[in-house]
Amino acid sequence: MPSVLDNEDLVAMHCDMIAARATSDRLWSLQRQGRIGTIAPIDGQEATTVGAAHALDPATDWIIPQYREPMALGRYGPEIMRRFVAWAIGHPAGGHIPEPHKVFPPQISLATQILHAVGLAWSIKLQKQPGVVLVFFGDGSTSEGDFYEAGNLAGVLKVPVIFVCSNNQWAISTPTSAQTAATSFASKAAAFGIPGVSVDGMDPVAVYDVVDAARDRALAGNGATLIEAVNYRLGAHTTADDPSRYVPDDELAWARERDPLVTFRRHIEDRGLWTRDLQRDAETAAETAFDEAWAWASNLPLKQTELFDHVFANLTTRQQAERDALHDHLGEPR
């Protein structure tokens, strides 16, 4: 156990993982009730996301998520969860994560965000700002050209970026064996001239340690690191997926033994930091936090003509005409 993490940190990480799982479960159930759209559960990837986030300083360091991670970013404040719930509902405010939260909106076009991270880290370097950029993506995304272009560019520019490949073994139904012939995803760092490291992504402390080291490296001006956090997708890809068609039962049973919410709880209990009562309190707090986020997001006002908001700083003449016509058609107040 590294000395940098104190008992309070361990407990905080566990609470964030509980909140992530609770959020994921609640969103799943809301989708099944037809109250929100498709959602991708986080089951099995909590330790990777939470461990990485805890190694960052929310005041200076950016997180660029894919689409599961926002529900595990308690470290970056309750606003992230509120916005994510709004995003899941399909409200435009869901993509607006306000200042000063250094988090990008969820990304759906996979691997594109890895290049955004390199560009953002480049801007940090050019403006001599403190901080690093950490970007999440999956095992499937490493097959995209943008992954290679981003790794290559980060190597050339030596920018303060941390690539976290959350390898959950499945890109929907495609196993990693069909994704790459490489021995590991971390080994791909060799092509970029940057260090690559594989870590147990079911252990938040292990993830914390490698991200912490990568952050030190980036802050020292030594550039990018590729981290492969090896975890397992314990649930479905999304609410639209049926993993029983392709995930082998024995493999899933093996992975469930390693569920970070179970193993890490055991770990902090063994250290005398956690009890059944604390667990119950943390679960209740997570439900309450979700209730609050849900209440906030479901009560956001919305006019249909917000369709035109934020395409450009100012509407073009044509957009103005279209919006005026829509106003008239819908009879919405201006």
């Binding site: 801007s123 943008d146 290559n152 934020h310 700083a313």
Partner: protein, 378 residues
Amino acid sequence: MSDTFASEIAAVAQTFAGTEVPTDPGPPTGDAVSKSRQASGDGLSDHPAVPDGPMTMVAAINATLRSEMARDPKMILFGQDIGISGGVFRATDGLQAEFGSDRVVDMPLAEAAILGAAVGLAAGGMVAVPEIQFLGFSYQAMHQLAGQIARFRYRSGGRFPMNITIRAPFGGGVRTPELHSDSIEGQLTNIAGLKVAMPSSAADAKGLLTEAIRDPDPVLFLEPLRGYRGIKGPVPYGEYRVPFGSARWATSGTDVTIITWSYQVEVARRAARELAAEGLSVGVLDLRTLVPLDTSSIIEAVEQTGRVVIVEESAPTAGFAAEVMAVISEHAFWSLEAPPVRVSGFSTPYPVGMLEDTYVPDVRRIAAAVRKVARISP
């Protein structure tokens, strides 16, 4: 991809340009009709004298990039071969020496990396001015362009504006290998969230590029290959901005109106001169920006003559000329004296060199279309 041929093309472009050298009319000469232009007070009288004589379009672009770089320390230029080499057309010549390799950056050969990094730079508060060496290669970054740059402000509810100006040469007539000449503005204008500027003169290159760089939203600034050295004209000294969405009359005329943009403005003006000898008075309306589009100038132009020819270098199917036709049908139908006619490339891929003079609209095809439109009686 492109760099193998790029320097050769640059040389060929010069050769071809040398055979045409149309004289650019410079800033509009008082016959601008656009209400938006007049409203903006952007009249000729505002232009100070031009001290240094005419400039080529590429020189105007170079000078504009230099002055904008000097003005805004947050601005960064990046692209393939733009630094020490000064760009394959020399558009960025001398800028790395002046502003340093941190601000004028040679990039790895990866278009998606160039445009994807632009997203992050802009989100981080920089003014990003990437170059795509040839517009046809933007296909290799279309997911970043259409899927990311165009919608990042929208997706983030306004938090992350994309102050990005993408410069890219395009257009035919210089015997390039594949994909160096394609005019894909019709495809690009269909992407909501991008602005598209297509200058036809050295003065407009300066005015529109300045406007693009200072615009907080993403702009595709498309530079005609043949225009780099083939278009020459006076350029206003000092600060000069051309507001987007303000078409101009490149030539005025009362019988038929040609509506076009970029290098085809030059070709259309030559056609107009030829037709003047036959007694036809032909006006040429230069749209300057396709997004935003100056629809009111298009409508006024149709109201003036009732006879319209639209010229574009791209394939006609769902091209931008079709959009202009739609605007005319919706807003100026009852002013038409004859059905509008398009002069376009063809519904084929952009061809190899020995076929391109047939593909790209020329004076003959434009003149034939104008004669046809002029003859029709309502």
